[in-house]
Symmetry: C2
Subunit: 158 residues, 2 copies
């Protein structure tokens, strides 16, 4: 089990969440685990959820749509577009939960090479409003992210 | 000349700008002037600028790329993706200026029918940071928008 922890920064009065997460794996492996839908499906989201991907085109101008199914069978759909993807470096996407239409957030991710086969993912997720950001946090965002990255650890071997 | 003024709201300490602009034209005409690239080219941006559109696919999952050329011939390129487009109702896009790479903003527009052949455009543009938002405002955003909407008035006949 990795001891690389998820760090969230949720400043008061602004609509964004910042996060960092380090991996005992090269930046190319972490990037590839975001690009390849067959890999994404195995780690994105909380433990115990099944992910069904309708579309995952991790390229500049591409887009995605998927459904998470929780252990009780309830389904949660998400979709967005990829504004920019730069290999092993940067990804920028929109993000929308079907259950909160038009409450779209903008998500920046920087993939950083730390050397010695280690890497860091740094992100900023910006909601439409401070209230929308707060709802996203209260919905269990941190636990879902933390469990997802632990699953990613298991895939990239850290 | 219309007396419909552009109203901007630029609160301190948050990364967004809100605006409203009314038109003496039906909401369908204002929406169509955003959808059709041949029309967009005639109004988007400050007076005296030429707009060359490489791509304008105003649909959900579509995207755009264009260049503004100022009267001195200097060129300014912009691109983005359309997350959601709903006819006569709503548009949500990303927006990036080539000169500020990765400083992408997220732009919401609501098209509102006011009856009697009038309409209102309401928008929120959210930058990556408060500093980025402030730079966007200082770059002449308000004048460019105001002149663009005056040109749009001339097209939709208000």
């Amino acid at each position: 089990m990795s001891t690389n922890a998820l760090h969230l920064d949720i400043p008061a009065g602004v609509p964004w969440v910042d996060f960092t997460r380090e991996f005992d794996a090269p930046v190319s492996a972490v990037f590839e685990a975001h690009r390849d839908p067959d890999t994404v499906r195995r780690w994105l989201g909380p433990r115990g959820y099944e992910m069904v991907i309708d579309r995952w085109d991790f390229t500049t101008g591409g887009g995605y749509r998927y459904v998470h199914r929780d252990p009780e069978g309830a389904e949660y759909g998400f979709r967005g577009v990829f504004h920019t993807i730069r290999e092993n470096e940067f990804a920028l996407q929109t993000f929308e939960f079907d259950g909160a239409p038009d409450q779209v957030s903008l998500e920046f991710m920087w993939f950083e090479d730390l050397g010695d086969g280690r890497s860091r993912l740094r992100g900023r997720s910006i909601g439409r409003s401070v209230e929308g950001r707060d709802l996203m946090v209260e919905s269990g965002m941190e636990q879902g992210m933390a469990e997802g990255y632990e699953r990613l650890d298991e895939i990239v071997g850290s």
